[in-house]
């Protein structure tokens, strides 16, 4: 199989407008590179804008959102993020999405079968009903749902949370996208079910050769499943690189801080930290309406120096590890 070009998001900026106030600049110049057949994690705390990235790429932002700039390179095409119609063309064909809350992701008044048929109708417009039925049942079987023929006639409320999430994954399977965006896919599920669902998502990559953008606040998930990780804070990407490098030798103080916040502490790397149960980053997320021209993390950063507030740092590769990028002027 020829190596297809990575899916690249470049320079995405999104503002949220509200009456009588300056716009909240939710995303500023966000870029992501998603190599083919890889799993890229987008990790950040609540409010960092990670879900907004996903919504912007899918063209599903709220009505009060305004995309300032951005483009997506998919295969040979270049799509402008401000072009809603073009983005709509990607949905269900090149891009697919798995959402956080499986109990709400499916229409309670329609059967599982109806959902799957609808995905197939969009993806394969010429298909007939029998063909779609067969493919749908096969998809359910593939994601590990037993008695799929019976399940087709069930309604969402008759299935458990884990099964519903599998159904959504089956929908993604049928859509055969190039990129699957999984937005906190296991947050609403039990820990025991989480592993199963993540296994299905990873299996998708093997079965249809898609890449996966895994959006999560769980560093554990990132460390276990992702090939690359992008760290986002208050609407800016602060670091990007292969997972092992970023987790064990972070190139940005924020990454270092959050990986230390995680309860599973690498005792070998930081024996002092292993004694403490929690480490809290002092301060709060910055307000998004009035941003200074400085490093966004400077107010809370332990390593901040005067140069950090002198100007807004760019996301640049590390000098000795060019496949990694960071915004910290001290780390480069």
């Amino acid at each position: 199989m020829t190596d297809s070009p990575p899916i690249a998001l470049q320079g995405l900026s999104v503002d949220f407008l509200s009456a009588g106030e300056p716009p909240a600049r939710a995303l500023r110049d966000v870029s992501l590179t998603i190599p083919p057949r890889s799993i890229v994690g987008l990790v950040g705390e609540s409010g960092s804008g990670k879900s907004t990235v996903a919504m912007a790429m899918m063209g599903l932002l709220a009505p009060n959102a305004r995309v300032g700039a951005g483009r997506i390179d998919v295969g040979a095409r270049r799509i402008d993020c401000t072009d809603g119609a073009a983005l709509a063309g990607l949905r269900g064909r090149d891009f697919a999405m798995v959402f956080q809350d499986p109990s709400a992701s499916l229409n309670p008044t329609f059967t599982i079968g109806a959902h799957l048929h609808e995905v197939l109708r969009t993806r394969s417009p010429g298909s007939d009903r029998a063909e779609r039925q067969e493919r749908a049942i096969e998809a359910l079987r593939t994601v590990g749902i037993d008695r799929p023929e019976a399940r087709m006639r069930n309604h969402p409320h008759e299935l458990s949370g884990g099964m519903r999430q599998r159904v959504v994954i089956a929908m993604a399977l049928l859509a055969r996208p190039r990129l699957l965006i999984a937005d906190e896919p296991t947050t609403a599920l039990d820990v025991t079910v989480e592993a199963q669902v993540m296994a299905e998502i990873v299996a998708l990559r093997d079965q249809i050769g898609c890449s996966i953008l895994l959006i999560t606040h769980s560093l554990g998930l990132v460390a276990r499943y992702c090939d690359h990780v992008s760290v986002i804070y208050a609407g800016e990407v602060l670091e990007y690189g292969p997972v092992a490098e970023v987790v064990h030798a972070p190139a940005h103080p924020y990454s270092a801080d959050i990986f230390a916040c995680d309860i599973e502490i690498d005792a070998a790397r930081a024996p002092a930290a292993a004694e403490q149960r929690f480490r809290i980053i002092p301060g709060n997320l910055p307000g998004l309406r009035d941003l200074p021209a400085a490093c966004i993390y400077a107010p809370r950063c332990r390593k901040a120096v005067p140069a950090c507030t002198a100007g807004h740092p760019a996301l640049l590769p590390l000098t000795d590890e060019p496949e990694r990028e960071t915004r910290c002027i001290l780390a480069r």
Partner: protein, 322 residues
């Protein structure tokens, strides 16, 4: 599937019980009116012969429970006795005019649904737009004007002033066009209020549904917007509409009575009103019983329809699959 039948059966039984209860209530209410049963039922036209035949049919000389039983058994068989004024069986008179009233109420219901639902959907799809705000203001006005007032206004404008539509009656039987012409004004008068109400209800409901995650899922899979709205969002949005259909029909039947009086249409309303005026309570009692029966039946049908559309209300025996 057999569970669904069980639920339907239970609803029918409860409904039947309610009807029986309603008839019993009427019976009890009669007891509190001064005077003997014959005078109450027949008014000033009562004669000794009538009294005697009534005593035989209804057991007026017997204890109350027996009377109640006779009352109920006659009502259940549709035997409401004879109209003392016209000499015809009351049941026949009711059945003669019932189609008119039902036609009016059902047409009004149909018209409200036909216009109200699309208006509400349109407003929900473009919230905050000019069309939405006009609809919002208009709907409040439509809802609050009582239907008999609307009827009078329509009568004024379209019949008396413009002479476009006939004023009174139901039209010549066997001539559908003429009957339709006679149906237009009363139906519109009744429907106006409900159009406003349904538009608001659908708007609010659809707005809620469109904000729900499952709509987002379908959009994320590239389903065309018109399908998302018309097929997948509208169905759950219509659940509250179905829920109030029964109440709507009851309200429309009540309103139909007034519309019949204002437009001079023969129907249950005019029948009952004339009976009240001439103190012929037997007819009123029969009319009320029939209306209650229709209303309860409509409510049962609505409940069944609700269950069919929203599967969460169907108590299936399905255990949760793991």
């Amino acid at each position: 599937m057999s569970d669904a039948v069980g639920i339907i059966w239970r609803r029918v039984l409860t409904g039947a019980l309610t009807v029986v209860g309603a008839i019993t209530l009427l019976f009890l209410l009669i007891q509190f009116v001064p005077g003997d049963l014959a005078s109450i039922l027949y008014g000033p036209r009562v004669t000794d012969a009538l009294r005697a035949s009534l005593a035989e049919r209804m057991g007026t000389d017997q204890p109350l429970p027996v009377q109640l039983y006779l009352f109920l058994s006659h009502a259940v068989r549709g035997d409401f006795g004879t109209n003392v004024i016209s000499g015809r069986p009351i049941l026949d008179e009711i059945l003669g005019v019932l189609p008119n009233t039902l036609a009016l109420a059902l047409s009004a219901l149909g018209l409200s649904l036909l216009i109200g639902i699309p208006l509400g959907a349109l407003a929900a799809v473009r919230p905050g737009s000019l069309a939405d705000r006009i609809l919002g203001a208009l709907s409040v006005v439509l809802i609050t004007t009582p239907s008999f007032v609307v009827a009078i206004l329509l009568l004024l404008v379209f019949s008396l002033a413009l002479d476009w539509l006939p004023v009174a009656g139901a039209g010549t039987p066997g001539d559908p066009v003429d009957q339709l012409a006679h149906l237009i004004l009363p139906t519109t008068a009744l429907a106006v209020g409900w159009i406003g109400y349904l538009a608001r209800l659908v708007r609010a409901s659809l707005l809620e549904v469109l904000a729900e995650p499952h709509v987002r899922t379908l959009r994320a899979y590239g389903v065309p917007e018109w399908r998302v709205i018309l097929i997948y969002a509208l169905r759950p949005a219509l659940i509250p509409v179905i829920a109030i259909l029964g109440m709507a029909l009851g309200d429309l039947i009540g309103g139909a009575l007034f519309a019949e009086l204002i437009f001079g249409r023969p129907g249950l309303g005019t029948l009952a009103y004339n009976a009240v005026v001439s103190r012929n309570f037997a007819v009123v009692q029969a009319t009320t019983t029939v209306i209650v029966l229709v209303y309860v039946t409509a409510n049962i049908a609505v409940d069944i329809l609700s269950g069919a559309i929203d599967p969460r209300f169907r108590r299936t025996a399905g255990e949760e699959a793991r």
